[in-house]
Symmetry: C2
Subunit: 199 residues, 2 copies
């Protein structure tokens, strides 16, 4: 039951294929795009083509970049002896926002997930081992998400790193700053007690 | 504080400019597009360009179409003596879904809204008057939304149609089918009582 012209249906389908966009939202977005001035609509289309064409992975840390090497790997002011391992490019943004960490990153582009058929070959583990073997790395901080798959990935990688005699750490678990003990779940609270520090 | 390559930032900006898409969602969508196979990303970009290029308004009813005249206006099986006036193309879809209405449509592409500087010249009222004057129209059904602006628009148009001696009706107000009196607001309930019909 298609009451829309084919090219509009196609555009709706394209929007509906995006994550978190249902059929109704896709319709609304498609109508919005049709109502845009022609140059704005073309700018949107070009932004997609351009980003897809020019953005690729930094050959060192695998983060997204337009050059061969990303700005963090290029910077002289970053501590190259520390690598923070994250699962997605957006996690780099999250950590950078804190202005606390000054080392480099390694983006895995996924986590091990047997359920979704993602094995060690499908994420950028090989490239991390290569860096640790070749560069002068002192510490690898595992910063995957604290869920089952993130944990398993961190554990798997830390075991692979054993032979390199490098210090492997992971982000501290605990109560979020500004949060309330009352709302913390048992697992978090237990981890917070385990990981207690001296004042 | 841009940690992303320029073309990725641009794509995020483009997504964030869409209605109902916040900064975080825009990031997620942009990352999704980057992770797509190249041909899928290009297909998305082309869908935008193509839809914007080939979709325009039916010269009769102003609904979106790829041809000169839309399929409803072209059809021999539609009753051309009845015009249902709606504010947006998506409203045509809503009414068509019911398989009850067999007349034609007229899409205004907006409603009168002094607050947003939308006057009678900005929506397709002129085209409707032209149709009523030229074609053999017996009834115009006002099906704008039952909110203040939709009401005002319907009222305004019905007054303009007076001289043409055409029957002007509007959709019935009342309790939604399958709904519950308990949850109906006062205005709806009052309208439902006013508009009661004999059983």
């Amino acid at each position: 039951m298609s009451f829309f012209p084919a090219s509009l249906e196609n555009l709706i389908d394209q929007f509906a294929a995006l994550p978190g966009i249902g059929r109704k939202s896709a319709q609304r977005l498609a109508f919005h795009v049709l109502a845009l001035p022609e140059e704005n609509a073309l700018a949107f289309a070009n932004a997609i083509t351009e980003a897809r064409r020019s953005v690729h992975c930094c050959k060192i840390c695998q983060n997204l970049t337009e050059g061969e090497v990303c700005s963090i790997c290029q910077s002289d002011r970053r501590d190259k002896t520390t690598i923070c391992v994250v699962s997605e490019p957006r996690d780099v943004l999250s950590i950078e926002r804190g202005h606390e960490y000054n080392g480099t990153y390694h983006v895995l582009h996924g986590v091990l997930s047997p359920m979704s058929h993602v094995g060690p070959e499908d994420i950028r583990i090989k490239e991390l081992l290569h860096r640790v073997a070749e560069e002068d790395v002192e510490e690898v901080i595992m910063a995957t998400n604290p869920d089952t798959e993130g944990e398993a990935t961190a554990m798997y990688i830390s075991r692979l790193l054993k032979p390199f005699q490098v210090k492997v750490t992971r982000l501290a678990y605990g109560i979020p700053v500004g949060s309330n003990l009352e709302f913390a779940d048992d697992a978090t609270l237990n981890r917070a007690i385990e990981g207690r520090t001296e004042m």
